[in-house]
């Protein structure tokens, strides 16, 4: 970690970095392969993915903020217990909020809202970042990671819904005669879609690396 307790306020550029890391370079799903359970389970439609992404984003930002706020008070021994308590609180809140907003969404997400508690991204950020950084930065980090997670869910959900149902957010895209690939809405489709995304990322990285090697060779 570049920053320790009690350092002067970080520059905007560093804040930006904390935010952007989660989006792309350290994307929790595509790069770190964390939080795979909701990524697979809740992406059979874009709307579900969006709801889950927003719920996780909310918990991530709130718990990061609170963890960061109490970071100097919490003794080492009960660190993890406190974090879990905080996370569980916000998950409970989200659970009730969703129920209050829309029963349909609540039914679609089911117990997976409660399972945000054990999403390792959240505890991971609390432990690795929020417990060591000031509130503002922690919130930005939470936002970055949360949006990164959201992007992952969204891209998975889009692929699955477009291929699997021929619709996007419920709107038909290809006319009535389009043959949907039902598989993508089913569990195997979840595995395959995420695997394909990971392979695309791997291939992309591989290509980038090769290009770098090439430019280096040319420069030399």
């Amino acid at each position: 970690m570049p920053h320790d307790h009690g350092q002067p306020a970080p520059s905007p550029a560093e804040n930006m970095e904390a935010f952007l890391d989660g989006l792309w370079k350290q994307n929790p799903v595509f790069v770190q392969v964390l939080g795979t359970c909701p990524t697979l389970a809740i992406t059979n439609s874009v709307s579900n993915a969006v709801a889950m992404g927003l719920a996780t984003l909310f918990v991530l930002v709130c718990s990061n903020a609170l963890v960061s706020a109490v970071r100097k008070l919490v003794p080492k021994q009960v660190r993890i217990a406190t974090y879990i308590l905080i996370i569980a609180t916000f998950v409970t809140i989200v659970d009730y909020l969703i129920k209050a907003i829309s029963v349909a969404v609540y039914k679609a997400l089911g117990p997976f809202i409660a399972l945000i508690v054990v999403n390792c991204i959240i505890l991971g950020r609390a432990e690795a970042y929020a417990s060591k950084n000031p509130v503002g930065k922690s919130i930005l980090d939470g936002l970055g990671m949360g949006i990164g997670f959201f992007i992952a869910l969204f891209s998975l959900g889009s692929v699955r819904e477009i291929l699997g149902a021929g619709t996007f957010l419920g709107f038909p895209l290809f006319g009535p005669n389009y043959q949907p690939w039902v598989l993508f809405l089913l569990p195997p489709g979840g595995f395959f879609t995420l695997a394909i995304w990971l392979m695309v990322f791997a291939a992309w990285k591989d290509r980038k690396k090769r290009r770098e090697v090439k430019t280096m060779a040319e420069a030399a």
Binding site: T89, G164, V182
Partner: protein, 223 residues
């Protein structure tokens, strides 16, 4: 949680720790309870809204609803958690249009939950709506929207036999071979889900309809 494995903190430390944990718990508790109280009303409204919508969709023209639950083998007024529920629907004049009954049955992928409307006057099922299902999209989920299939439930005969149960239990038959008014014409290619619907209706009508008939006068009066 794993304090036993760690070096013993000094007395002042543990007091601090307990105080801290206490205050964190307090904050968390307050947050949760606050949310709980704040959302209680919207959640209840949401739930009611959904059932009301369904009941009015199944019983067109409904104005007032009454709820009954199946408790100890008989109908009791009011909703009870975790038991099959029955809704009676009345029109503006307060006359009973029909009842809507909750039911569920195991389908291809998971349990299908549904509601159906029963008209005591016609002695027939007059509507059917799936509430929850995980059937294969594009195949099993046709039972929710396939118009030809839903036509089965415009007037599905469940005339009572001597024991109060339907004389001819509802049965799903192969696509295109429906001959009798108590038969459900299956969706071709989604036979399992269609069958689950037939089975669900047969089971539910066998238990619920005798009760409805027994309590019909009470229900008509609305209590």
């Amino acid at each position: 949680m794993s304090a036993a494995n760690l070096p013993q903190p000094a007395a002042s430390d543990s007091v601090r720790m307990i105080r801290l944990m206490g205050s964190v718990s307090l904050i968390c508790g307050l947050l949760i309870v606050g949310t709980h109280i704040g959302t209680m009303e919207p959640i209840r409204r949401n739930q009611e809204f959904i059932t009301k919508e369904t009941v009015s969709a199944l019983l067109p023209g409904v104005d007032k609803q009454a709820v009954y639950s199946l408790v100890n083998g008989d109908l009791q007024p009011g909703a009870q958690p975790n038991v099959p529920v029955l809704y009676a629907g009345f029109d503006k004049q307060g006359a009973l249009i029909g009842v809507v009954i909750e039911t569920s049955e195991r389908g291809y992928a998971d349990t299908i939950k549904a509601m159906y409307a029963y008209s005591p006057d016609l002695q027939a099922i007059t509507g059917f709506q799936v509430m929850e299902l995980k059937e294969t999209p594009g195949l099993g989920d046709k039972i929710t929207k396939d118009p030809a299939f839903l036509d089965n439930f415009k007037k599905l005969d469940v005339t009572a036999g001597p024991d109060g149960k339907p004389a001819h239990p509802v049965v799903t038959v192969k696509h295109g071979t429906k001959k009798n008014p108590w038969e459900v014409d299956a969706i071709s290619g989604a036979t399992i889900s269609s069958r689950a619907v037939g089975r669900m209706l047969a089971k539910s009508t066998a238990t619920m309809l005798p009760l409805v008939r027994k309590n019909l006068d009470r229900i008509r009066k609305g209590n």
